[in-house]
């Protein structure tokens, strides 16, 4: 029996708006990502990187084409079914961290575990924060953490349910170079430990070089796809 790819996208399109104001964002994307691969999505602003990540992670539905993620057919799922499909399978790290401001670091990390109905969410969240070096910051609120620390919490939140896939959208975009490098190290370390597939969106060529594969987008299409 062959293992299904982590991502199997065929002729994906995404068009926003209707009629005269319709804008084609993705224009026929074909992409197969094997399980456990690390992949960088490169491309200039407006090339469709973030939109592709949104579609692949189930945050947005493609306008047409087929999409299988972690063995699930995303093509026929509505918003809520996509949310359920993400639970425990997909972890997402965003440029602006997007921690829940009213919750502590521990509670932020425990929330996806609780949503997925996993046992002992607080204990697992604490262990995950320990793993990202924030064992001493469990009770702190996002506003009491530095940008780097917030992104560590976001990484812990993404990896805590042991997802098959991790998406990271410009994870160092809001951080200085030194902090950003630390975050990238951490992200790759956590991925190595969980053996998850990692898709990173970045402008940073150095970061892209650390991935096994680099896919470049231009104007909503794949311009190049190279293994390293």
């Amino acid at each position: 029996m062959t293992t299904p790819p982590a991502i199997a996208a065929q002729n994906l399109t995404l068009t926003l708006g209707t009629g005269a104001s319709a804008v084609a964002i993705l224009k026929g994307i074909d992409l197969i990502v094997p399980q456990g691969q690390t992949l960088a999505l490169l491309g200039p602003s407006g090339s469709g990187k973030s939109s592709l990540m949104a579609v692949l992670s189930g945050l947005e539905r493609a306008s047409s084409g087929s999409l299988g993620v972690a063995g699930e057919d995303f093509g026929n799922l509505d918003e809520d079914a996509l949310a359920r499909a993400r639970r425990g399978r997909i972890g997402i790290v965003l440029q602006a961290f997007h921690l829940l401001p009213t919750m502590t670091a521990l509670e932020n990390v425990a929330t996806p575990l609780e949503l997925a109905g996993l046992p002992q969410p607080r204990e697992r969240a604490a262990a995950e924060l320990e793993a990202v070096g924030l064992g001493h910051r469990l009770g702190h609120y996002p506003a009491q953490l530095s940008g780097g620390e917030q992104q560590r919490v976001a990484i812990a939140r993404a990896t805590a349910p042991r997802p098959a896939l991790i998406f990271a959208d410009e994870p160092t975009g809001n951080l200085d170079a030194a902090t950003g490098a630390g975050i990238v190290d951490l992200l790759f370390a956590r991925r190595a430990e969980t053996q998850a597939t990692l898709v990173i969106i970045t402008h940073d060529g150095a970061l892209a070089e650390r991935c096994e594969r680099v896919v470049t987008l231009a104007d909503g299409r794949i311009a190049s796809d190279s293994a390293q």
């Binding site: 973030s50 945050l59 947005e60 918003e79 949310a83 359920r84 997402i92 949503l115």
Partner: protein, 841 residues
């Protein structure tokens, strides 16, 4: 992985984390529920406690299980036997009389009782003794009479020419409440006195009251029904312990219903605030909601999490409201003072509190459901793009709770309404008002979007604020509309009530009413009056009492005893009423149909009827009316209909007969005495008490003062209740302005960065709110006036007499307040340095 919905307990764990301990962001919801639920709880507790007090103490208030009352005669032996067969009977008489001591004279309400009185409870005297009927030759008198006569306990007074020793001053009379309106301080004497003093001579205005204490298990209602069958035409008015003080119960019930409507209005306004508050709260949590969705939360999970948060705040607000409602009841009771038949203390009324809580929760459900449903529809992609089109609003998720909640509110309000039609009208009015303001908000928003864009950037920004995505125009229009309407309403009601008080209590009423002037001594009476007050104007009319037994076309007359329920406004059919005869149309009356009989008319008996009564019972010219006067039936033909002038405070009789019809019945005259301002009054009361011991005088000055006080207290109660609604309106207004401000912070900061001066930004705010408030002022004027008119004329049956300059002044003050709030809210933003404001965005 778990693909099912988040459990309630897990949802609560997440909800609790996200919920500030001090309900930050949900305070408008808390305040609105606190005010609305508090108002309804207080009102329900107050009226409920009074009604239950009246009901539970019915036997003590009535002084027995049954009371039978008849005018101008004692009981017949067969009537006495029938009552005695039911239980222990106490019999006595009530009348107006004059008491004098030396030079001092005072009108008193004479209450003559037999040795068995009181059948229930004891009379408490100021010296602490608990006593029953006074021994013959003595009297228990009210503190007011003792003070006015200047006689201490042990002193002597004279009533009806009889000398009495004051044996004690009354502190608490057990059956006071059932005695009804008092026209003077009470004097309780032995039942032998009126007979001896000739106060119960044929034709004298007195009532005989018999109370029956039935053995345990007796059924007063059945007994009264049997008595009515046995003595259909005896002119009895009956009361039972379940209906001991019907006037007080009616008043409490009517006042209670009005107050509940005010409470509901406060809740409706609070509902707007709840909707606005929840909307702003969830809007501020867009990012959190989207983040939760990114982490795998479904729309249903989001609905559960935020429903639990809003539910917790609703519960907290409602509980605080309930507590405040209970605590404020004694204060309300004290504020309403003598308006209330009993003064409630701290009362815990589970029924009233449950109702208030149910209203609060239902209103919260109805108004919080739409924003909650919108929150469900926030997409996860909101994190990736600043503004994305929301998911389709699940109509069922809105319609079901809103529909069910509204239906439950309507059912609850109607089920508890004393006047279903008034409540239904109120609910329909509130719904129409909401719909109207909603439509207006929509029209302003859409109208602003279609207007040509002004060239000036600030005007352009101001106009755009009215219609851009996320604009609070709808909420502001509703809040401003309700708030300003509440101002207009309050001012219109207040000034109308003041004008009614001034109009209804005439400045020139007769100074004295005199009862029981012997008709063979009219000349002597007039002489006695003019001797004391030479310029006095005296008017006398024959005064009889009788009950209407039957009415209608000859041969097909309706018997009042057969009516299951009296027609609306046909109060004159209830018990005995004053009757008179005259050969000319009474002063102040106007003929509206038929003709007045000629002077010295001596044909078949004729009667002139109050047009309002005729209208209520369908009486036509040529129909017949049969009355019972002192047990004798007399039938007359309706010759004319008259419009009475109830506001003149002179003599007003519903039935005026042609003289021949009644002149042979034993009766006395009643008189009014007008004293010109500044005229010398050389002891009128003393003179009359000496010369006419069986005659009683009522001074109108005190009555008018009492009426003014009562109306003023009523007006104060209405205002106090209505101010809760206004307070809720203000909270909503502040909330809407705060919400609108939050959505404009960004624009204001950017405009500052681009070089707009503080003055320009202030002007922008003034122009925008000025436009909205100005447009809504007109709407509020119309809406507030319409509701005020309905309350004043339909509910209280007063005249619509608002003082428009004052109403407009109050509205202008409301507008200034709105602009003040709006500008004050913007000041911190305007004072901030642009760079700092940018960082804080």
């Amino acid at each position: 992985m778990n693909a099912s919905a988040l459990s309630w307990s897990a949802a609560w764990r997440i909800a609790r984390r996200d919920l500030s301990a001090r309900f930050r962001g949900l305070r408008l919801l808390l305040v609105c529920l606190f005010l609305g639920v508090g108002a309804i709880a207080a009102i329900g507790t107050l009226t409920g406690s009074i009604e239950s007090e009246l009901a539970s103490r019915g036997r003590a208030i009535l002084g027995g299980d049954i009371e039978a009352q008849v005018w101008q005669r004692g009981l017949q032996p067969d009537e006495r036997r029938a009552l005695a067969a039911l239980g222990v009977v106490s019999e006595g008489t009530r009348m107006q009389a004059m008491a004098s001591a030396g030079d001092a004279t005072a009108p008193v309400e004479l209450k003559a009782v037999d040795a068995r009185w009181p059948l229930v409870g004891r009379l408490r005297l100021e010296d602490g003794r608990e006593v029953g009927a006074p021994p013959d030759g003595t009297a228990w008198i009210g503190a007011g009479a003792a003070e006015r006569l200047g006689v201490p306990p042990g002193g002597a007074i004279v009533i009806g020419g009889e000398r009495l020793t004051i044996a004690g001053i009354i502190a608490d009379e057990p059956d006071r409440l059932s005695e009804g309106l008092s026209l003077g301080a009470v004097a309780i004497v032995s039942d032998a006195l009126p007979r001896r003093a000739g106060l119960t001579a044929p034709g004298a205005m007195f009532r005989t009251k018999a109370r029956v204490a039935m053995p345990p298990g007796g059924d007063p209602e059945n007994a009264v029904a049997a008595l009515k069958r046995q003595f259909p035409d005896a002119g009895f008015s009956f009361r039972t312990r379940d209906n001991a003080a019907p006037g007080a119960e009616r008043f409490v019930s009517r006042m209670g219903e009005f107050l509940v409507l005010v409470g509901l209005a406060a809740l409706a306004i609070a509902g707007i605030g709840i909707g606005g508050g929840v909307s702003s709260y969830l809007e501020a949590r867009r990012t959190s909601i989207a983040t939760l969705k990114v982490l795998g939360a479904t729309s249903r999970d989001i609905a559960r999490i935020y429903l639990l948060q809003i539910g917790a705040a609703t519960l907290a607000g409602s509980l605080a409201g309930l507590a405040a409602g209970v605590l404020v009841t004694p204060l309300l009771g004290r504020a309403l003072g003598t308006l209330l038949p009993v003064t409630p203390g701290f009362v815990f009324d589970p029924g009233a509190l449950t109702t208030a809580a149910a209203y609060g929760l239902l209103v919260a459900l109805v108004f919080a459901a739409p924003p909650l449903a919108r929150a469900r529809a926030f997409p996860a992609m909101a994190l990736m793009r600043a503004r994305v089109a929301p998911l389709a609003l699940p109509k069922r998720a809105v319609l079901l709770p809103v529909g069910l909640g509204l239906a439950a509110i309507v059912a609850l309000a109607l089920a508890r309404a004393a006047q279903v039609s008034v409540t239904a009208l109120f609910l329909a009015g509130a719904a129409a008002m909401l719909a109207l303001l909603g439509a207006l908000g929509w029209a302003i928003r859409h109208g602003a979007a279609r207007l040509p864009r002004p060239r000036h950037p600030l005007l352009r920004a101001g106009l755009a604020n009215l219609h851009r995505p996320g604009a609070q125009t709808g909420a502001l229009v509703t809040a401003l509309g309700f708030g300003l309407s509440a101002f207009v309403l309050l001012a219109a009601i207040q000034t109308s009530l003041e004008a009614n008080i001034a109009k209804r209590i005439p400045q020139r009423a007769p100074d004295y009413f005199v009862l029981d002037v012997p008709r063979d001594r009219v000349a002597a009476f007039e002489q006695a009056v003019t001797q004391a007050i030479p310029q006095a104007a005296i008017r006398t009319v024959p005064a009889l009492r009788g009950a209407i037994l039957a009415y209608g076309p000859e041969g097909r007359m309706t018997r009042v005893a057969d009516l299951k329920e009296l027609p609306d406004k046909a109060w004159a059919l209830r018990g005995e009423r004053g009757l008179t005869y005259a050969d000319a149309l009474p002063e102040g009356n106007a003929l509206v149909a038929g003709r007045w009989w000629p002077k010295d008319y001596a044909g078949p008996p004729l009667v002139s009827v109050d047009a309002e009564l005729a209208d209520a019972i369908g009486l036509k010219l040529g129909d017949r009316i049969t009355v019972s006067v002192l047990g004798v039936e007399r039938t007359a033909t309706v010759a004319s209909l008259r419009r009475l002038d109830w506001e003149s405070m002179g003599f007003n009789y519903v039935l005026v007969f042609s003289p021949d019809t009644l002149i042979d019945a034993p009766h006395n005259l009643a008189a009014t005495i007008d004293v010109p301002p500044g005229a010398r009054n050389a002891g009128l009361l003393r003179t009359l008490a000496a010369a006419f011991p069986a005659t009683s005088v009522i001074e109108t000055g005190g009555l008018l003062r009492e009426a003014r006080t009562l109306l003023s207290q009523m007006s104060a109660a209405i205002l106090a209740a209505a101010s809760v609604a206004v307070l809720a309106g203000l909270a909503v207004l502040l909330g809407a302005i705060a919400a609108a401000r939050a959505s404009r912070t960004y624009d204001t900061v950017i405009l500052r960065v681009l070089g707009a001066s503080r003055r320009q930004l202030l002007l922008l705010q003034v122009a925008e709110y000025g436009f909205l408030a100005g447009a809504l002022a007109l709407v509020a004027l119309a809406l507030g006036s319409a509701i005020g008119w309905a309350i004043v004329t339909r509910m209280f049956e007063f005249d619509w007499l608002p003082d428009w300059p004052r109403v407009l002044a109050v509205l202008a003050a409301g507008l200034v307040l709105v602009l003040g709030f709006a500008l004050a809210g913007s000041l911190p933003l305007l004072r901030a340095k642009p760079a700092r404001a940018l960082r804080e965005l």
